[in-house]
Subunit: 344 residues, 2 copies
């Protein structure tokens, strides 16, 4: 069974290959009757244009690259995020007959930029969706833009002018979460920060402070503990916060992994959640719904964000005119069992 080419279709429809090409690419100025004839031939032969030939001739690859930090380098389960982003990009791709190429990139390697160049030169994706934290690294961003490949960053913060980026409202939603805790009567609300290199984490911390202020609560350095995004560091912070003379009644962790670590630390000390301690996280990883009690947290619309990013790339006319500005997709609170009224 040999594959039908554009020539076969042209012959069957009695037109030139150029006309077939026009129909396939939905170009203007093809008579309706001709278009139909060609479309029938396409259907009959089950013709599908060869991507490579197309790419070679047109410089469009119908391929989107998703570039993210190599999860194996972490011990944290970033897998959930990556999958959700992939799903979003895939939705956009499916809608436009694009395919998705994934490209983990370990920024700790000296040749990370080279590898990216290889991807760009060899495959020539029509665009690249760059996930955090890579999207905040000038070295990585520049490696891509230097080649002129359209790029959408999924992260807050500026790196390179007014390139289009898709972000979520970390700061605002964290303020909201803090106010929610305050509304439950908590007056000593601790915060566990994460890895400094993650820009988003910084915004989460600022949001926490905003929330305290908006609720008329004082900020205290003693109630801030530095983690590194890992479960283990959450456990450690939990231990240290819970052994304070007047421990907090609520802890807000900058991500769910650390929140889970805090819960474990509390569990070990026989501290009941949520009766004695409320714990909240950020991310809504799968674990959040599965631990007991289930975790109140914040869900980022990762898959939507990624979809929007890919969509922009796919629909960019080529001059980058659509690839400007910032698209803010709001996150939302997921209230579950790990939060309750402050203990009397």
């Amino acid at each position: 069974m040999v594959k039908a080419t554009i020539d076969d279709v042209a012959k069957l429809a009695g037109v030139s290959i150029k006309t077939v090409s026009r129909v396939v690419n939905r170009e203007q100025n093809v008579r309706e009757s001709t278009r139909e004839r060609v479309q029938q031939a396409i259907a009959q032969l089950n013709y599908r244009p060869n991507l490579s030939a197309r790419n070679l001739a047109s410089q469009r690859s119908h391929l989107i690259g998703l570039v993210y930090d190599d999860p194996s380098a972490y011990e944290i389960p970033s897998g959930g995020f990556i999958i959700r982003m992939q799903q979003g990009v895939l939705r956009a791709c499916a809608a436009a007959d694009y395919e998705l190429l994934i490209h983990p990139c370990n920024y700790r390697h000296r040749n990370a930029g080279d590898k990216l160049h290889a991807l760009i030169d060899q495959v020539r994706p029509d665009g690249i969706v760059l996930a955090a934290p890579l999207s905040n690294m000038p070295r990585i961003v520049n490696a891509i833009t230097a080649k002129g490949t359209p790029l959408v960053r999924m992260s807050p913060g500026e790196v390179n002018g007014d390139q289009y980026k898709v972000v979520t409202n970390d700061r605002e939603v964290c303020a909201e979460m803090t106010r929610y805790l305050a509304s439950l009567g908590h007056r000593r609300i601790a915060f566990v920060t994460g890895h400094r290199s993650h820009k988003a984490i910084k915004y989460r911390f600022l949001g926490y402070k905003d929330g305290l202020e908006q609720s008329g609560l004082p900020f205290s350095k003693d109630l801030v503990c530095s983690g590194d995004n890992s479960f283990g560091s959450g456990e450690a912070c939990g231990d240290s916060l819970l052994s304070l003379d007047t421990p907090p009644t609520a802890v807000f962790a900058a991500n769910d992994d650390m929140a889970a670590g805090i819960m474990r630390a509390a569990d070990r000390r026989g501290i009941d959640i949520p009766d004695q301690l409320s714990v909240v996280g950020f991310d809504d990883i799968t674990l959040a719904r599965q631990i007991y009690p289930s975790l109140t947290t914040i869900r980022q619309p990762l898959s939507n964000m990624a979809e929007r990013a890919a969509h922009a790339l796919i629909n960019d006319p080529g001059d980058g005119s659509k690839l400007k500005g910032t698209d803010v997709v709001p996150s939302k609170l997921m209230i579950r069992e790990s939060t309750g009224p402050a203990p009397a």
Copy 2:
């Protein structure tokens, strides 16, 4: 900054483009001095062959497709698996300068086969790694083989002759786990089965029976409960098993999600794990290490399996001579805190 082509390299090195091609493709019969000259020119111009042109001319795409069931269709966190498989395939790809294209495929859609054909016709990957449960579906497998695309299945069971497949020893390792529980003194060991359509689950159940027999324990239907792989169904099975007149002292769930559900059911009843009940799962998802107590389970070498699968595809000489037989990669027990001696 315009991209260097093979012509530029040829000119700079003072050879024909064909010779450059030979060097790039590591072909025989190039004089050492010529090879060096060409390689210098390549380095100097930072030349990288255009994948599309290569594919068009050679019919090799240097692309591997990873096809798996669309995780969004499940409510279970299959994300972890997919990421691990992706990592494995990516390792193999990186080693051979291949790129990876991912292609979720919802087999519940009537046009799933069509979508696969589109992938194959348009992109022409050099091979496809097919993940369970798709790898057990003749409709899907045939859709791929009909096009003559090399395929490696990651799943037990026969579908299509002696195609190469990479599997793990579900049955043997489950027998081992069962014997381990028996060795702790458990005599009433329950089993929670999963979704029937998953072949692997069937083998896990058989392994459980083997293990009972090898330990001289009787098999009892009353100690078997049918779940559907989900956390919720594990919870339900936990409830029903724990309300038996003489409840089991150990429960073996066919996957970790269900094991977590069982633990939750036990927790609600105030049953202590592992003192009163041992629980084990299968898969070693991230959750397994994070719940409290951490879960004894079985870890599949998913990423190794996927790497081997991709490696076979990449190194197949084209006649399929390497793509025969079965590659068994053993799983291993991860003993953690959820198991202990049977209560007196």
